[in-house]
Subunit: 339 residues, 2 copies
């Protein structure tokens, strides 16, 4: 991080007509942007949200309230502009990029869709490794390549989002492996599981951990044995964003699983992450604690796609405007603190 | 509340391409808007943020890190567009209205400033009643009149904000009186008090409670003895917004004190409030619990002015767009839940 740039921005923040630090996270954000990029940010940031899609063999265990064909159906919905992420991306002035990293069926050519399929979905993690080490690496590389392209085209803030029926299951498995916590303590209802399917989900994850014996110190091992292709892609995106000194807005539970993998592969990349919201999925709080991140929004959201990340981006724009548009004490003729 | 309108909006929400309820508070907001107004909201809402200013006799006790002349200086800053609230109101597309309910000096004519001064600041609550019952009533009426004007001009969402050096002190006193909690448990550092001034603040509040003996069952008594003119004005604004079936976005600690007074005067008005953020002031959480409200944003902000309320308004706009712009399962050809 560029501490000289942080100092310059801190000094400007303290001269603005407000008590020092009184805008809390809005001030933290511009300090982080300064540290990451080495310069004072100016609004509006050029923001790109990347939504990665992939399917999951473990969906065969009945771990989702929705059938797997919803994954490609939703990718079409994204391309047509009808999903929640489209509405919120338009609201926030964010470019949306779709990436097929591993949808289980062939998708047509669609506007805004990058076809980078590594496999037709993962294998069933409850029966063996979800991915080979080679597949996991290839999916990481997809994310790295996409991030680098976005940065080359001028993106100043990247967002993470995903679509993949069943993908809270691998995310929970990853968290269990990395944290050592019992599955039952961190599992949630995903898109809205009933009690019966929740038990199937717990059993599938516990079986997957037992069969695969992932090494919690080896991020790639955890990713390959338990992960998803879109999760791997997002982990690569985060790593490459950090390497290019571009901040990454982390969405909810599945994106945080990718962030935990990225942080295991390179702990330094945590400094380049901004947490957006706290999701309803109980394990999300545990992940954010592991990452040392604090969420800005508590909206009881649990949709994924990056809906929280894109709302979080509107707060980053607000923060940058605060830095650049507020008057100083001197300009406004306002008295400073007595202390 | 209009339960038929709520039912219509709930039915549309459940047909949109997302798991039912998965957008959490975004869904709650449009349901609340439907219940309050009796119709399906459409974006963007016409939003007016009202910033009320007043001075406080108790500032003489050294309870603030800033001198009282900052109140009128900041009103000038608001009128000139240089304060945090100006930046965020522009960001959110919100009209900003300034009201002098009780600044201790005469203000010049300023664009966007309504002069409705009830008194040149309050008396010192540590030495006797801050306001007479008549003054408190007059300030409530200012808020009612301003809200009614805004509604007449087409406002569909009102925001509360304030400026008044020392005003976390009366707000804390109001909370102590209404909740019965010890001052030391709910007091905070306001704009950034050091330990010494914090002790002065605690002593002034404790003295004010002892001398004035406000009746916790009589909202007007609590308001007059401990309150501020801008707090009374905001309480009137909230009551009138609710009466006109217009939702009111509540900002931080001082606005929540006004909301607690409004709720004591008419408990029904709580249904018309939307909580924006959780401030750093420790008593704010207690107030929100008393009001039965849950904040959307946790940004460690403690500036006031309505900075949290205006950020919250951007989330309301996002919610309304979700309702109106998302595709349904039928339109998008996406399969529904298996359960």
């Amino acid at each position: 991080l560029d501490h000289e740039a942080i100092g310059r921005v801190q000094s400007r923040l303290d001269n603005l007509t407000k008590p020092p630090g009184s805008l809390g996270v809005l001030e933290d954000i511009v300090l982080a942007l300064a540290g990451i990029t080495g310069r004072q940010p100016s609004a509006p940031l050029r923001k790109t949200h990347i939504l990665m899609a992939g399917d999951h063999g473990v969906a065969a265990c009945g771990v989702s309230a929705y059938p797997p064909e919803v994954t490609p159906q939703m990718v079409l919905n994204f391309a047509n502009g009808g999903a929640a992420i489209n509405v919120l991306a338009r609201h926030a002035g964010v470019e949306l990029l779709l990436v097929d990293v591993g949808v289980a069926s062939d998708l047509p050519d669609l506007p805004g869709l990058l076809k980078r399929k590594v496999a037709y979905g993962t294998a069933n993690l409850a029966e063996g490794p979800a991915l080979t080490r080679e597949q996991a690496t290839a999916a990481l590389e997809v994310g790295i390549e996409v991030a680098n392209d976005c940065v080359r085209r001028g993106a100043e803030l990247l967002g993470t989002g995903e679509m993949g029926i069943g993908n809270t299951t691998p995310s929970t498995a990853i968290l269990a492996a990395l944290s050592g916590k019992p599955v039952r303590e961190i599992v949630g209802r995903g898109t809205g599981l009933d009690d019966q399917r929740l038990e199937l989900k717990i059993k599938a994850i516990e079986k997957g951990l037992k069969i695969n014996r992932p090494d919690p110190e080896d991020g790639l091992d955890v990713l390959a044995k338990l992960g998803g292709l879109e999760i791997a892609g997002l982990a690569g995106l985060i790593l490459a964003g950090a390497a290019a000194r571009v901040p990454v807005m982390i969405d909810g539970f599945i994106s945080a699983a990718a962030a935990c993998i990225a942080a295991k592969l390179n702990p330094q990349c945590r400094q380049y992450m901004i947490a957006s919201h706290l999701s309803e999925e109980p394990g999300h709080r545990v992940m954010l604690e592991m990452l040392g991140l604090r969420p800005m929004l508590t909206m009881r959201m649990r949709l994924g796609e990056g809906t929280g990340a894109v709302l979080g981006m509107t707060l980053v724009d607000a923060a940058v405007k605060i830095l650049n548009e507020m008057a100083t004490f001197g300009e406004a003729g306002v008295a400073e603190s007595l202390q």
